[in-house]
């Protein structure tokens, strides 16, 4: 359901996933919260022109599969990308 043309838009929505989700068996609200600072700030990033936001969307999808999450939608803004996930 992930296609390159859709990702050119600033907002991505996986309509197929969003229509198939059912929360009937969900039970645990309390979340696990992981925050990783690879560098202390943007200015400290090695000067290669690449940052975490250069990582292709498809790679984030693969990482999130390991967490048992899928991407429902994504919003890209000036300084951050926000992914809304299943579960």
């Amino acid at each position: 359901t992930v296609s390159a043309p859709e990702m050119q838009s600033p907002t991505y929505i996986d309509r197929e996933l969003s229509q198939s989700l059912n929360s009937t068996d969900s039970f645990e609200g309390p979340e696990k919260l992981l925050e990783i600072w690879f560098y202390p700030d943007v200015e400290s990033i090695p000067n290669s022109g690449k940052t975490l936001r250069s990582i292709p969307f498809e790679n984030w999808v693969e990482i999130l599969q390991l967490v048992k999450c899928q991407v429902l939608s994504m919003n890209r803004s000036e300084k951050l990308d926000a992914y809304l996930l299943s579960e």
């Binding site: 992981l34 600072w37 090695p46 990482i63 994504m74 300084k79």
Partner: protein
């Protein structure tokens, strides 16, 4: 669940039976492969800083083995990262304590004085249980087929349309004073602030929302409204005082969120860099009096480069 990716850091917040820690190895392999960033130091990783935290689970036995108990999670993290410390925050005899794992900052990666923006870094999290039934009901849509959403945006799907409806009816898009008020002065002050909201209503119940403020800050909400184990969380890195130009502080934000859910209990954590954050000390003082709630615990930790405030309240 939500993921926020900045240029230099990421935040992953997942609920249910997700396996958050299982992504670590692949994540560090990915940043090495795609970005050329290597944080290997001997057999472990040493990025600038790592935080991992969670409230104690309601149903720990249903979690995947790694997340069933805190000690296993800490052992896993310790095998992966250098210089980790873990904290059990709150009362051991209570079923609602909070756990934190944090690594010392890798000073080798700090090659210069940090920017003001980083110095002002702060994160507020409110974890609420026992939501008032009529408040929890706002996040129950039943079967989507029984409630077709009214939308003028045909490209959007029902879950997102209903999610956006909930965000507006619960006023969760108004948590922060980004201006947009009636007065000319307010509109003038807020002209550069934007809100980008992405909400989803699960069927038959449940709700998640990410809101980006001014293109650089976020707040996120996750709600499981089921009777018996209702829960809602609010997490934000929005500097309320700064973006409202002094019209709003974090206590005002906390009251807005509490009013939306009216929980029977909640715990609050507030992280701030310890160098210059006035809001931390203001919050320590102001949070002594939250209307309709009795303070049960108040704990302050002086962590490496950060101050942590933990508070727990019960409804009167």
């Amino acid at each position: 669940s939500s993921l926020f990716v900045f240029d230099h850091k990421l935040t992953l917040k997942t609920c249910g039976t997700t396996t958050t820690l299982f992504c670590l190895e692949a994540l560090f392999a990915l940043v090495k492969q795609v970005l050329g960033w290597s944080f290997e130091n001997g057999l472990k990783m040493n990025p600038y800083k790592v935080f991992y935290s969670r409230r104690c689970f309601m149903f720990p036995a249903k979690q995947s083995w790694i997340h069933r108990n805190w000690n296993d999670e800490v052992n896993f993290l310790d095998r992966f990262f250098w210089h980790g410390k873990n904290y059990l925050v709150g009362r051991l005899d209570q079923a609602n304590h909070w756990n934190l794992y944090v690594t010392d900052s890798n000073q080798d990666l700090k090659t210069r004085e940090l920017s003001d923006e980083t110095d002002e870094d702060e994160t507020l999290e409110i974890l609420m249980t026992g939501l008032k039934p009529n408040k929890a009901q706002q996040f129950v849509i039943g079967n989507r087929e029984d409630r077709p959403p009214q939308s003028e945006e045909p490209e959007k799907d029902p879950g997102h349309v209903l999610g956006a409806e909930i965000t507006r009816t619960t006023k969760l898009d108004r948590v922060y004073d980004c201006g947009g008020g009636d007065s000319d002065q307010q509109q003038q002050q807020s002209r550069n602030l934007s809100l980008r909201e992405d909400s989803f209503a699960f069927s038959p119940c449940g709700y998640s929302s990410n809101v980006i403020v001014d293109g650089q800050y976020y707040y996120t909400l996750h709600v499981t409204p089921e009777d018996g184990w209702s829960y809602a969380s609010f997490e934000s890195n929005v500097p309320a005082n700064l973006i409202s130009q002094g019209r709003q502080d974090q206590v005002n934000v906390i009251r807005h969120v509490l009013d939306t859910f009216q929980p029977s209990e909640f715990c609050l954590t507030f992280f701030a860099r310890d160098t210059a954050n006035e809001n931390f000390y203001k919050l320590v003082k102001l949070c002594d009096n939250i209307p309709n709630y009795v303070k049960k615990d108040k704990i302050i930790y002086d962590l490496d480069e950060y101050q942590l405030l933990y508070l727990r309240f019960s409804a009167r």
